[in-house]
């Protein structure tokens, strides 16, 4: 009886996921009348705009990841090692993007950093790109920080740092050779999540007028019939790859030695 209810709940709930996935896959293959084909995919992939916007977003994602790591890892490390009393504040800040909608944040950017402001970032396309990258970093902050902080918790950073210092290592060495390799898995998890978030992001890119993949998706969605489904499948595969890679990294990684706390 219990098992019957459990299976029913599970299977009915799964329909919410499975049906749209089947729907989009089927639709993306139906461009040619009467038979399945990859025409929609061919059409998408041959579109130069697809390649341009996709490349733009991939580059943005990679830059965001590098910046995010450089921002988050030292902070999380420093807070854990030297300033544990700051943790509640830092955690509160990192959770803010989950509460303040992205559209409000970008609205603030446009008001603060427009051409007539004290820091006219939106005046040049490089400036706008940098602003967009900061925005993405903010969006990914909750995930990145959580991942890195969890990773740091599993190693004894105080001892590692002391050991490195006693061997005469400077801060750059400690950070690059000791801390980063030990939280590598956590950082990678955060990186893949960031990638998944940035690659199809729409609101920020559209409002800052950047030629990113998100606005391109919107354009195709408004004007084409089958291509959007093909793009949805591609996006889903990318998301799936990012999450799958996280799993693989986590599983392949050598387990850190057990800590006594």
């Amino acid at each position: 009886m219990k098992r019957f209810f459990a299976w029913s709940a599970f299977l009915l709930g799964s329909l919410i996921f499975i049906l749209p996935l089947i729907g989009m896959t089927e639709f993306s293959l139906s461009m040619r009348r009467g038979e399945y084909s990859f025409d929609a995919y061919a059409s998408v992939l041959s579109d130069p705009q697809f390649r341009q916007t996709f490349t733009y977003s991939v580059v943005m994602a990679l830059v965001t990841i590098v910046f995010g790591i450089l921002l988050v890892v030292p902070t999380a490390y420093w807070v854990r090692l030297r300033m544990p009393h700051l943790r509640p504040i830092v955690e509160f800040i990192t959770l803010m993007p989950l509460v303040i909608p992205a559209i409000v944040i970008v609205f603030g950017y446009i008001r603060l950093y427009n051409t007539s402001s004290w820091l006219p970032l939106t005046g040049t396309s490089t400036g706008t790109n940098i602003l967009l990258m900061f925005g993405y970093t903010a969006l990914a902050l909750p995930y990145m920080y959580r991942a890195v902080d969890t990773g740091l918790r599993s190693i004894d950073i105080a001892t590692l740092t002391e050991a490195a210092q006693s061997l005469g290592a400077g801060w750059v060495t400690i950070f690059g050779r000791v801390i980063l390799p030990n939280v590598f898995v956590a950082v990678l998890s955060g990186a893949f999540l960031t990638f998944a978030i940035v690659i199809g992001e729409f609101t920020l890119a559209a409002l800052l007028n950047r030629p990113a993949f998100g606005p391109y998706l919107q354009l195709v969605g408004a004007n084409k019939a089958y291509e959007p489904s093909a793009l949805a499948v591609i996006s889903f595969v990318i998301t799936w790859l990012c999450m799958g890679l996280i799993q693989i990294v986590v599983r392949l990684a050598p387990k850190p030695p057990a800590q006594s706390h």
Partner: protein
């Protein structure tokens, strides 16, 4: 641990140097933007303090936009919580084979990040006018989905259903560890003391889970309250919900007053902020028994 020893006054500045970049970033790109919206909402066209912008929100159109947004977010969060809870409970307690668990969690990780435009496309391909299920019901059963049930993907109901695609997995991801945390001994002790399953859930399990449930609900609410892309792709700019109205306002000042736009954004912060404050308050009331 000599490293964590209290610092002398002389060392204080170098201590803070380590976190300075983070706080600078957070100030410039999170806190200041939010503050500037707040300030903008209370400043008139000539500068100077005014309440006119906030008062200006009280038009049928804007009131309606907020109200629809709140309803969509509330229902998608509530349904997301219920369905996610049911699925998670089925896997944790329902005696489903163990091998289901890990794929479900992985899949939830993927699905909770599959939002925005592609999600809208997937639902259009499934439940839209030419979607898989719509066509299937019409051709094989002679049922007109829209005519028979009044379901329209491009309405708020459609939006709620679509949002479930990321709300449910988010709930699963958060609540599964919480369900794992319910110790077998609690259930067995309750049973030994004569409690029925229902009594156990009402008096023990549910109160223990309540903080996580409330927290997840608040998160799911904020999650759909700020979502622009999916709604935009499903229903286009004319759908009257707060984030889309704000989107149009930022693009083209459709409200005809920049100050009103800031007030609109302020309203959104206030609502998600309220949802979270409510959560924190309820949690502090339910968590007396925690360390």
């Amino acid at each position: 641990m000599s490293l964590a020893s209290p610092s002398t006054g002389r060392r204080l500045p170098t201590q803070w140097l380590g976190v300075a970049p983070f706080f600078l970033f957070a100030f410039l790109f999170l806190i200041l933007p939010a503050l500037s919206i707040v300030v903008g909402a209370f400043r008139g066209p000539e500068g100077g303090f005014t309440l006119a912008n906030v008062a200006g929100l009280n038009t049928p159109n804007i009131r309606n936009a907020y109200w629809v947004s709140i309803r969509v977010s509330f229902w998608s969060a509530l349904l997301g919580c219920l369905v996610g809870f049911a699925m998670s409970a089925a896997v944790v307690f329902g005696g489903l084979p163990r091998f289901i668990r890990s794929p479900l969690l992985t899949f939830s990780g993927v699905a909770s990040n599959f939002a925005g435009l592609p999600l809208a496309f997937a639902f259009i391909a499934t439940l839209g006018p030419a979607g898989l299920i719509t066509v299937w019901l019409r051709n094989d059963f002679g049922i007109n989905l829209r005519g028979a049930t009044g379901f329209n993907l491009f309405s708020t109901t459609g939006l709620i259903v679509t949002y479930l695609f990321f709300q449910v997995p988010l709930m699963i991801l958060i609540i599964t560890p919480a369900l794992d945390g319910l110790r077998r001994e609690w259930r067995e002790a309750a049973e030994m003391l004569g409690a029925t399953s229902l009594q156990y859930w009402r008096m023990v399990a549910f109160p223990i889970l309540l903080p996580s449930l409330l927290g997840t609900f608040a998160l799911l609410f904020a999650n759909s309250f700020g979502a622009v892309a999916t709604a935009f792709a499903l229903a286009g700019p004319q759908l009257n919900i707060a984030p889309i109205l704000l989107f149009s306002q930022i693009r083209g000042d459709v409200l005809g007053s920049p100050g009103l736009g800031y007030a609109l954004a302020l309203g959104m912060i206030v609502i998600t902020g309220l949802a979270n404050t409510l959560y924190l308050w309820l949690r502090s009331r339910t968590e007396r028994w925690q360390k």
